[in-house]
Amino acid sequence: MLNIWLVSWRNLTKNKRRFFFTLIAVILGILLTTSMLVANNTVKDTFRYYEEIYAGDADYWILSKNYSFSEDEVEEIKQQSIVSDSLSVLDKQTLVEIDQPEAPAETSVRVTGVSDLESNLLKLPLTKGSLKGNGLIIPENAAKLWDKDIGDTVTFKGLGEIEVTGIVGFTSWLASPNNWEDAEGRSFRVMMDLATLQDWTNRDNQISYIRLQHKDRDNENWLSNYQELLQGTPLYVQPVVIDDLRNNDVEGLYSVFYLVSILSLFISGFIIFNMIYSSVIERKKEFSIMKSLGYTNFNVFKLVFIEVFLLSLLGTAIALPIGVLFADLFVEMLLGIFQDTMVYTLNWKSATILSGLIGLLFPIIISGIPMYIAFKTPIIYAMRNSNKNSRFRVRILRYLLGITFILLSFVDNYLGYIFLLFGVVLIYPAVIKALAKVLAALIEKILGYPGRLSVSNIKVNTNRNANTSAMLAISIAVVIFLGSALESIPSGFEKEIRQTFGGDIQVQFEEPVNEETINKINSYTEVESVEWFRETMVTWKTIENEFKEFYLMSTPSKNTEEYQLFEGQDNVTSNSILLGERAFDEWGGEVNDSITINTPSGTREYQVSGKVNTSQDGGYVGFISENEFKESFNWNDINTIMISVSDSGNPYELREKLNSDFATYISTITLVEDQIESSQSSFDGMNEVMQFLLIIVIALSSIGISNTLLMNTMERIGEIGTIRAIGFTTKQVRTMIIGEGLIVGIAGIIMGVLLGIFVIYLNSISNASAMHMPFIIPWSNIVLAITAGIFLSLIASIIPSYIAAKINLLSALKEN
């Protein structure tokens, strides 16, 4: 009995090289998709994990509008039967003496005292030593820079000496600089037993805040109960919220993951389509014979279906494990961009299942048309001639549709890009023919007569060559577009940071700033003037009723251009709020809708009066009037000041001076240049990752070129035999095939560059992105794309060219 699976397998592998290249394309497509999906899930999980361990198992925390408060004030709350656990915390800024050549004489450090180092409300990721005992817990960054290990002692200026008993991995609790340059702007953070710190600082029973865990964790009523209970006191309550958006400003990167996945699937899909389509067209006579011998349309369809299924099954089975391994390497590289050393667990299961399904279904969907052609092949196919007039009409219709789609790309919507993509693919056969004509003289000049033949050969299988070149063009366009985005976004950000940073230096104090401090800073010769704003962390609800948290800031008391914290709106009126872009998008409402915020004076509704551009907390922030802070919240403390440096002043020298004069009060000193540099370095890191990914995508496109050239070669064996017989050397045959690869490649590069620039232009006139993406042509990325495109096209042509040159002359002649 005929085993249809075996027959399909034989058909699939009959042309071994073509099968191999197509399999490679399936593997690479699914491999990249798996990697991107696994990386996406893992990176998201990692950020969320660190937010979760920061939140611990706590449900609420009680803070004070003053710097600290007596634990007795919350004793009653702690003793409630509903409270299952609590953690009292006291922060103290101080100095530490580090005996390291690169270290400054005294290094700023924030010591956090906690009532229980092993508490579930804290969840310290211990990597060495123990959390038991009354020793010091330091993060890995500090251990490395300070050269301290378990058992070493650390001396805090004016406080005391303590032995290191535990070293922990990254946690937001103890986020510390990882180099000495970074340490100039922010302090180290360490943790110890609360009682010892209270004793050292003479703050008996004083705490900065307390965290509570409830037995009835889902009951939100406790928030209003606490608010009611604490009304009229300096204390206020906030629910503990896990919101990784505050620290994780890499949504753009997730879009790149999806883009690379879609692009690689798209390219791989075209390669599969080309292979199956060619195979079906080659075997139409075979199908008609099968049908004349009793096969039904469905039997033929099934035969091809099984071939595609076997191809996708084999490709997916190979790609999935490699994809997961690749994701591991990729996530490690990606998380390396961030300053803190994060550990991660690869979240591969759901992403692997999803890409497995995609891997199995996608080739089948993409092969729908060839399978249909096989299904519809008439029994009398061998006797039938094709209708050239109808082909001509189809071609004209295709081009008209393509041009219409390209015109529709001006629609200011994501749909515009999809129209553009389809438009380009539809008109590409005409484009490649035209480009081949334009390039003919150049190719012949470089490659001689074989080059001229290459130009003529492009006309054979125009659609296949066009599809292959279109894939390369689209990949290159994406490289160029992302290059432009990465060039323009930092410059847009730099402008935005300078305009909305608020002065030249921002200084955050651990304790409220008094008038004396401000006067002293104002008296420095380097200082032009000093301004301040008030801020506090609040929780709020999205339109979907989900709790989030961000910093609520007051507008500066002198809201001049020099100190402005946002742009896009002049000011904020009472009972209204302005949201930074990211906060506004996350909130999900419309301007003039209300937003619910748990403020230090209870839950309040604010009318959102607009979305503003701001560099504060990456745009994940809200602004209310200073009056609202003072009168509604009764919030008089100032913790952050903004300094405008005089023309003759040096901001770096001023930082040193501030660090030395207020070492035990200052938490962070950020120069506007630091902020710009930090944003720039993140973008640089991301740029490298993206360029790496996109070169892989171009490489995938070049496998498409290889596959196409191989198919073209195999179909023209007879012709190659003839030209060999009548005078072409093997070298000339190789040159001819390389020439074909070059035409496909150069056409792809030219179209890719034009398409990329067109997309940048579309973005620059789009209402949604014009602000962040002006019309910038990324010359370095264009050079990269052209170089990679030509290089990979040449590499892709080498194997087919050698195969063409090595074919047996006599068998080739018999092919005709």
């Binding site: 054979v460 030209i723 005078g727 050397t729």
Partner: protein, 239 residues
């Protein structure tokens, strides 16, 4: 012009060794029109392939103008083919992406040299084979007879010393075959080119000066039109 000495050719098929040519000796003079005939599998096409340098012998020599073909590298053989040998194939073997004139001009361009006389040569030969007006056409749009004329023009454009024709009329009806054979005969006489033609067709063979009859990898007999009982002998041999 061409001398073949003790030419052997065998192919391996699995463990089996198939002897196709079993020691052929042959000599062809300049300007001779030779037809090679014989039953299928007798080795005549293999001989033609070895004469054209499309394949190498297992042993023995093929000398063209005294130069041993079998001692040449692949590239050198290609250059000899390009300069000294013209091919005409049964199924024309035209290149579908090139026009009629481009197909004809191929051997002139293949060596990479640009000669200002090339264009003139192409125009002249197109006239000679009667393809005026079809220069810019794709070969796919021509009839079988016209395609074979293109093939002949291509085989002759570089003025080779030897023209190898493998069943040149095999795909044509009698009238078209006659036209093609008249052309070959005309060129043979005009240009003094040696023509070696493999054919199954007695009528085609009748155009040759000499007919070589092949059987089991060896030359059975050489006959000429002048030989006594020529037609009867051929008929009985082929029967």
């Amino acid at each position: 012009m061409i001398s073949v000495n003790q030419l052997f050719k065998h192919f391996e098929q699995g463990n089996q060794k198939i002897e196709v040519l079993k020691g052929v000796d042959l000599s062809i003079k300049e300007g001779e029109f030779i037809a090679i005939m014989g039953p299928s599998g007798s080795g005549k096409s293999t001989l033609l392939q070895l004469l054209g340098g499309l394949d190498t012998p297992s042993s023995g020599q093929v000398k063209i103008q005294g130069k041993d073909f079998s001692g040449l590298t692949e590239k050198q053989r290609t250059i000899v083919r390009r300069k000294d040998i013209g091919f005409i194939f049964q199924n024309y073997q035209l290149l579908p992406t090139l026009t009629v004139e481009e197909n004809i001009g191929f051997p002139l361009h293949a060596d990479g040299r640009k000669d200002k006389n090339n264009k003139e040569k192409i125009i002249n030969i197109i006239k000679e084979v009667g393809l005026e007006g079809l220069e810019k056409k794709s070969p796919n749009l021509l009839s079988g007879g016209q395609q074979q004329r293109v093939s002949i023009a291509r085989g002759l454009i570089h003025e080779p010393k030897i023209l190898l024709a493998d069943e040149p009329t095999g795909n044509l009806d009698r009238k078209r075959a006659e036209e093609i054979l008249d052309l070959l005969s005309k060129f043979n006489k005009q240009r003094k080119q040696s023509i070696i033609m493999v054919t199954h067709d007695i009528f085609a063979a009748g155009y040759a000066d000499k007919i070589i009859l092949f059987k089991d990898g060896l030359i059975e007999k050489e006959v000429t039109r002048e030989d006594h009982g020529y037609a009867e002998y051929l008929a009985s041999f082929l029967a």
